[in-house]
Symmetry: none
Subunit: 207 residues, 4 copies
DNA sequence: TATGAATGAGTGTTCATTCAT
DNA sequence: TATGAATGAACACTCATTCAT
């Protein structure tokens, strides 16, 4: 094994400017996603990704300085539209509405491609990637902001935000693993737990 | 040379009869735990475990037919006293008390050696170990039984049990990762979420 | 890490397309042959082969999915020109001529690189390679066909063919081990035994 | 691996004088034979033999200085009664009778426990054991002596003897591998080849 | 003398990464 | 710029042999 990263090993090596390059990057990311889904972390290796992408291994390394950078880019891609949606929740009038919207966004995100989302979550906690995607932290900030809204005004907003995101992540992951697909039901249960946590139960969950 | 294992690759290879053997097994398991804690899944390999245990790699393989068997044995060791405690929760008079006891057991278990517990959780979801430890499924059954008690009598006990365990796991994992150590506070927050989920809020969490 | 091979462990992993690859494969096969000849089955390991080939171990595994595939490829390489020659024996006018030609082919094959041929024979009987080269069975069919010719017309052609090949193999192996190199003499003795077996002695052997 | 034989690694380490020891040696040899038959050369290792013998690995090494010594002892055990029988063939009045008797002895020996005999043959050609059992050479001497008898009086007795033994070994091995069990038929075919080789065919083989 | 725990060099194999073409 | 052949450190696992008990 040869591990001598000269520059930052996580940032994309080159900004793909030409359309052909953009396309290659896109193809590589989708290939990575599919390999992850089909073969799990066990089968997730750079050669397999390149092969599936129909691209040479050399090309992969031209766009990504290393495996972790590829993983990271995939995380960002998967998180992109989700983050946009998450930001929008702040536009909701009340904190409660915003929180519901946020939960909805999380659930949709996680259940879109459940195994992919789950595996990326796992990868995200691996030291070299720890918080590199920045998604989690940012998300918690948004939720914390929501919890500061007048109708919720939680005294320990940051901590509660972390707890809520943990609840959401825990429940959606488990649901994904079980193969659940009824988004509405799941969302209702998560809301029950969340608002219960906040001391303002909506309705009895799971009825 | 690597050939197909003739016997089950997960069951311990030989029961340690002499006191010396027992000691070696104990030392190996603790070494495995420590390697996992210090170096993560990345650094968790049989040679490292043997080295840390101060034992030859051959000895490791005398007691465990493979890496997975070692991991599994560690899971069982870590889960042992916890499972005992979990069973006892059924002795509680009311469902609410039982559930609180259960949450307490989970929290204590997870916060005892947080990173170890977390990494073992991850490993448990890897295909070759999927449910091999048998802990998770059993746990959910207990909780489901609790939820069937008169004072809780949840109509979708099995599903709710899974949800509750997901909440507990999600929150404790996150707490462990943050380095939280105030068990009582964490437990209170989890109870809030749990009873909120069940539609019977106790007090506003996090106040 | 050693995991179950996903594809057939005996078929070559990748067809060498570039001339460089072809060369590497050729070099690896010849190295395998030489290691086998110098160090026997004992010393025949993938690292030794790669080292002797002046190639990294990784390269070996790029072209052969495993040790057995390498062995098999070597068998086929060694058997290639021989099989061509064996097929041609059917062009001989009479059965007797064809049989003599066949014996000649076998003897030449076995005495070209006697130890190599012998060791490959041994390997061929190891379970994972059992009949994989397909050489032996095919050979017997050819001989059986020869024995069916009018001038020989043996009533138990298949059995006799197996016997004859056993005679040829036994005698050439022994001769090879003794270091015999007079092909003509050996061939004459084998013919004596063979035609004697068929009930049509030519001349007294060994005179 | 630790390979530092201080004394001759092939001779039995201690002459078992006490009846208990003799019994242990016998048990070990039979265990070795059975392991060889059941699991082949692949599974033939000292620990397996000891386990099958119901004896500790330490005991095995008390009676045999190494694996090869064990193998060798097994060869001698298997060859013992056969050699006795082989010697007796010299008592036959004519060379032809003696040769037939010899062939019969060989066939019986090889077909008694065909796989065992075959695997031991293979082992015998491995360098550390090369000719150590001494069986083959001695056998050839006997046959050479037979071939010198007046009725056969072969001019190249030693060479012819080697050839004949090669024929016998080749044909019986192949027969054993095929699972043949009709000793008389096989013997007749071998005689045909043998006497054919000598220029004195008996009857057409295989009719 | 018997036991079996312990040893560790050796073997097959993988995969992230480099670099000549 | 793209290719894919080549690299080699790392890892899982085996087994002949030793030696303390």
């Amino acid at each position: 094994m040869v591990r001598a990263p000269t520059s930052s090993p996580l940032k994309p090596r080159k900004a793909p400017r030409q359309p052909r390059s953009e396309h290659t990057v896109e193809v590589l990311l989708e290939a990575a996603a599919q390999v992850l889904e089909r073969d799990g972390l066990e089968g997730f290796n750079t050669n397999a990704v390149a092969r599936r992408a129909g691209v040479s291994i050399g090309s992969l390394y031209q766009y990504f300085p290393g495996k972790d950078a590829l993983t990271l880019a995939l995380m960002r891609r998967e998180g992109a539209r989700f983050h946009a949606e998450a930001e929008l929740t702040l536009d909701q009038p009340t904190g409660a509405d915003a929180l519901k919207a946020m939960i909805g966004a999380c659930v949709r995100q996680q259940l879109q491609r459940p195994t992919l989302a789950h595996l990326l979550d796992l990868e995200e906690s691996r030291p070299p990637l720890r918080g590199a995607a920045g998604g989690g932290a940012r998300l918690i900030d948004i939720v914390a902001e929501i919890l500061g809204r007048p109708d919720l005004s939680h005294p320990r907003a940051k901590l509660a935000a972390a707890d809520l995101m943990a609840i959401v992540r825990g429940m959606t992951d488990a649901a994904g693993e079980r193969g659940e697909s009824d988004i509405t039901d799941l969302q209702a249960r998560i809301e029950a737990a969340s608002f219960g946590y906040l001391g303002a139960p909506t309705t009895r969950a799971g009825d």
